[in-house]
Symmetry: C2
Subunit: 205 residues, 2 copies
Amino acid sequence: METLILHEDPVSGNCYKVRLTAAHLGLPLERRSYDILKGETRTPDFLARINSNGRIPVLQVGDRMIPESNAACFYLADGSLLIPTERFDRADMLRWMFFEQYNHEPNVATLRFWLAFVGEQALSEAQRGQLSAKRKAGNAALAVMDRHLAGRDFFVGDRLSLADIALFAYTHVAPEGGFDLAPYGHVRAWIGRVAAQPGHAAMVG
Amino acid sequence: METLILHEDPVSGNCYKVRLTAAHLGLPLERRSYDILKGETRTPDFLARINSNGRIPVLQVGDRMIPESNAACFYLADGSLLIPTERFDRADMLRWMFFEQYNHEPNVATLRFWLAFVGEQALSEAQRGQLSAKRKAGNAALAVMDRHLAGRDFFVGDRLSLADIALFAYTHVAPEGGFDLAPYGHVRAWIGRVAAQPGHAAMVG
């Protein structure tokens, strides 16, 4: 495989997904750090060379770039056991990865970013006005996960897949965004299972 | 293939993606309609049998369900020419599909839904407070698309893929949400190319 470089912010859960996938696969990743809060992913150079969408993570493969965390994970895991070989299960894995980006990340991750990194005092009026809707939507996403995990060990089939990796990243740090995981017993048990997998890597370390 | 049933709202662009993918592949889809505005995807029966996340589209394959439009498209197209066979291109296709769900749909599709279907007068104060941020973010997504399409015919490689189908659905009706496509010449030319592909099906028809 060509040289793999991860353009990332180490505190970002989206970036952690890519590192966790690489850890499970035993793939070496070079790491380049950017500070989102300092606007380092919105510079003209970053927009021109790395990602015109101004976001991280971006996985660099040789001289080509793959933005979007879940697409980067798919690139790394393509052909491995982290992607189910059965057609329905493969689509079902993507279903949970799209759910993660649409229903989970914009609520669970955004509240963590706003409350634990930006700081509630520094939020704009527009952001403050979204706190309660995002709290409600984040809890709804956690409840959907909890119902699905009742009687299952992993999101798809009977082994770890990218669906688990994508959802683990921000779920296991959801309390940093003020989410109480106590009501979600199946989610808590699953967090323990994912963290106990051989090859697991912690978010910061 | 098992019987395919699309649980949908005919005016939803997310549902149209699945129909458009099926049209290109020549796959028959049975259609079941639900009216989002009447809450028909939030009934106890829908939540229990179809999708605990209360959303459409859901692709039913035999007695199994695939929520999330882009995952349903992937299921239908798996193994076809709508998904690139080259590893980088396959991940790059998913990159644009995740971009669509994260940066495009919540802005371009939501403003269309709010302005053309709910009606501006009926919006909540919280929704009204998000109009200008969603307008700005939707235009930013269209600008990213436009820059990418300069000198290219399609989003990935040199032929139609699911990336084009996913992004076409809400882009070609973006003016219904008040977006002016005039500044995005490459996007407008691409809309024409996608609509001229053999096997294309219009959104309503």
